[in-house]
Amino acid sequence: MTAIAHNENRVVRLFFYSSITWLLIGMTIGLILAIKYVWPNFLVWGEFLQKYLSYGRIRPAHTHVVLFGWLSMAYAGGLFYIIPQLTRKSLEHPRLAHAIGILWNIYIVAAIVTLSMGYTTTIEYAESTWPLDVYLIVLVAGAAYICFKTIAKRNESQLYVSLWYFMGSLIWLPFLYIIGNIVTYFITGIPQALAGWFYGHNVIGLWFTTVGVGFIYYLLPLLSKNPLYSHKLSLIGFWTIATFYVWNGPHHLQNGPIPAWLMKAGVIPSVLLIIPVWTVLANVFGTMKGKWHMISENVPLKFVVTGAIFYLITCLQGPFQSLMQPSAILKFTNWIIGHAHMPLFGAFSFVLFALFYHALPSLTGRKIYSDTLMNWHFWLSIIGFLIFAFTTWTAGVMQGFAWTEGKQYGVPFLEVVVSLQPFAIARAIGGTLMFIGQIVFAYNVRRSIKDGQLLSVEEKSTSTA
């Protein structure tokens, strides 16, 4: 395969390194939030900190930094890295892409500042105000333009399945973003809530999931050195997720003031998502056939397969909790927090870690500094996440049943809050382990760039293939 052009290399590294920085910052904010559950007065020294680090302000700052700083910037970097590989064509407009990277970082800084100053739209994952939204839409549209132009001028006639996923996602994201962030300014009441959740769930399903699955399809055959199990399955998976996902929004308003038909219309496609998910997983397991032993030595492969399994678990849990009865218990509880972290951290961040470890040697010309640290990154992330997830799920079930028994107000409500203290502590411990894992990751990447062993000429030519 062709060596990566110099300009393109610079763009991908800008996006990758920025995203790692945002990962650390976003998780620091997340950790502060987790500690506030245990010790509400944490960091409340003086009026300034009390105001700017209050829970309601930094919670959206956490979600914005990890969703748009870490995941989306890493995704854009991944697209700029993989699309040229799959099209055998160097990236179009690398200078524009580089400018988008710099402007994107400015967006995240502006979002953190405005959100902690208290400017918010109150719509989940769309809290930043409209001037920033318009700014980000322009950047996303620019990135999409570069990707589509590269694909249009490709030197490889057939489109590999990852490109289907990428192209779909790049069309969907700007539309979703406009509906959730701009359209919601002009409508009120239930339609606003529905439009907000249309965006809130689809940004997970038609951006984070679909690009992430595209990455899995790219990484798995390369890392396992097996052919992809079935092209046909991958296309069934693509078209069914494209068909069913858009209807997921209403299940967030389950048992709320929406018509019964709309509730059903939210539940049925949520459950039917099992079709694309199991189809993807059948392809993953089929591709891994005979190569499972490689997982013990190959850390990137370990990350991809673990990520795929978390994707499977997420999409069994999700359909279950979208049903009317489970939703009546679980809604608004800690359970949801555990569920929301599973696809974004457990599944797709893991896939990104694999992509970073796979791509860095060809970007820097140096091997990853330490395999041991890669393993530490893996185990700290997964153990920390499992502690975090199981405590939030258990606490959520307890909370939900207590509330249905009438402990929803006043003193009984506070008793429930107090009784969940041990879970809040365990959750903060899990979060700390996850965070330490990412510090190990960032340190390992930093050392690889500076002191990693240089690739030999032979390795250079195969590292991108």
Binding site: K232, L233, V267
Partner: protein, 140 residues
């Protein structure tokens, strides 16, 4: 028949492998368990769309066992902090509260709380229940 099937199974992995941009791609058929999954889910979706009924467990629960007897409610919600006698516990004793807070004053304390005492609406009591509590308290 059995042999034939086994042979077929073998060949699904032997189908021609294409290569796209350096990635090899086989073309295995859709596994049978997935086909069954698709059919089961489709049948469930049709059934659910026709038969499912929305739930509203919370109102059912609270509507069913809601006490409207003032004495019962006071026992459940107030005696953690108040004695029925004149003796002080966390808050003042309830005996004679009707004389100490005549007319609207008692209503106001019940509806809005006072000091550390939470208001009754905040404890999940509705208007009917609060009226019953007030009526009972005035008899003490």
């Amino acid at each position: 028949m059995d042999e034939e099937r086994r042979e077929k199974k073998k060949t699904t992995h032997e189908e021609p492998i294409e290569e796209v941009a350096g990635i090899r791609m086989a073309n295995a058929k859709v596994p049978r368990f997935l086909v069954i999954t698709y059919i089961v889910l489709a049948a469930w979706a049709i059934g659910y769309s026709v038969l499912a009924q929305p739930v509203n467990e919370r109102t059912k629960d609270t509507a069913g066992n809601k006490p409207v007897n003032g004495e019962t409610i006071v026992q459940q919600h107030c005696l953690g902090c108040h004695n029925l006698s004149k003796e002080r516990l966390v808050g003042p004793g309830l005996q004679g509260v009707g004389q100490r807070l005549p007319g609207d004053k008692l209503t106001e304390v019940l509806l809005n709380g006072r000091g550390a005492m939470p208001s009754l609406p905040n404890q999940g009591l509705d208007n009917e229940q609060i009226k019953a509590v007030e009526k009972y308290l005035r008899t003490l």
